[in-house]
């Protein structure tokens, strides 16, 4: 309604459709298929489906790390809890294969403005401090170096 009177960014219909994790995962899977790249497998969960023990459970229509249930969050991995958190119309839960390297090596957060990378931050969850540690990225390791390190760990 408000968007008829003023300009809103991002447009609500973009967030509700394109921003849904379900659509995003589908698009990223399509892109990975075109380039023969690896992707963690994802599956939509329906009420009562078995909840895979080793998978990360994510809800659509959510961001900022909300509604992400790790395999260690045993108390939250049940359908009573999942159904209690489906109050956004159209939202569903998705099981995504756990990617151990995310915890081991962290992830790179790339800020893009106008389609161009502006800066990159490397962030890693610190299990001891139970919080994220991060630093701006000025330089990168190559995939060959990561292959060597992961193979010899």
């Amino acid at each position: 309604m408000l968007s008829r009177l003023v300009y809103i960014w991002p447009p609500a219909h973009h967030v509700n459709s394109l921003g849904s994790k379900q659509r995003l995962i589908h698009h990223l899977d399509v892109i990975a298929g075109q380039t023969s790249s690896l992707r963690p497998q994802s599956k939509i969960l329906k009420d009562g489906d078995p909840i895979p023990k080793d998978a990360v459970i994510k809800r659509t229509h959510s961001d900022c790390g909300d509604h992400v249930i790790m395999p260690t969050d045993l108390g939250d991995r049940n359908w009573d809890n999942l159904n209690d958190n489906l109050h956004i119309p159209g939202s569903v839960w998705i099981a995504q294969a756990l990617v151990p390297t995310l915890r081991k090596l962290g992830e790179w957060k790339v800020i893009l403005i106008g389609g161009q990378p502006l800066y990159t931050v490397h962030a890693k969850y610190n299990d001891v401090k139970a919080t994220w540690c991060w630093e701006p990225v000025d330089s990168f390791y190559s995939l060959d170096e990561f292959r060597y390190v992961l193979k010899n760990k």
Binding site: H14, H27, C64, T101, W108, V110, L112, R147
Partner: protein, 118 residues
Amino acid sequence: MKSASNPTEGDRDIRSHAEAEFMDFVLKTYRELYKLESRQICGKSSISVFCRFDIGLIQNEHNVQYFVNEVERTQTASLWTNPLKISATSRSRIGLFGSTFANTFYKWLWETSNPGFL
């Protein structure tokens, strides 16, 4: 390897290649995602103004590759600009972000309010 970022060893060619490898993955994926999303809504996807790609490493028995773990695109996305006091290399990039975003957002607003003009 103490940290997965900011290596202190390796020559300039190795580091240039590594950065190009990373950015090539980010930009190729961004362009394809922008195309898919724009086609779906018959317009310009809002990621052309701002988004944040979270990139991780994924491996199977033969290979290690980058993959996109998440794409954030709304006003609530964390910008990761607050520098950690303990890190000597940390510095806030909020000023850089603000100025660049303002220019891009103004362009989006102008195009949206003046459809048909180039």
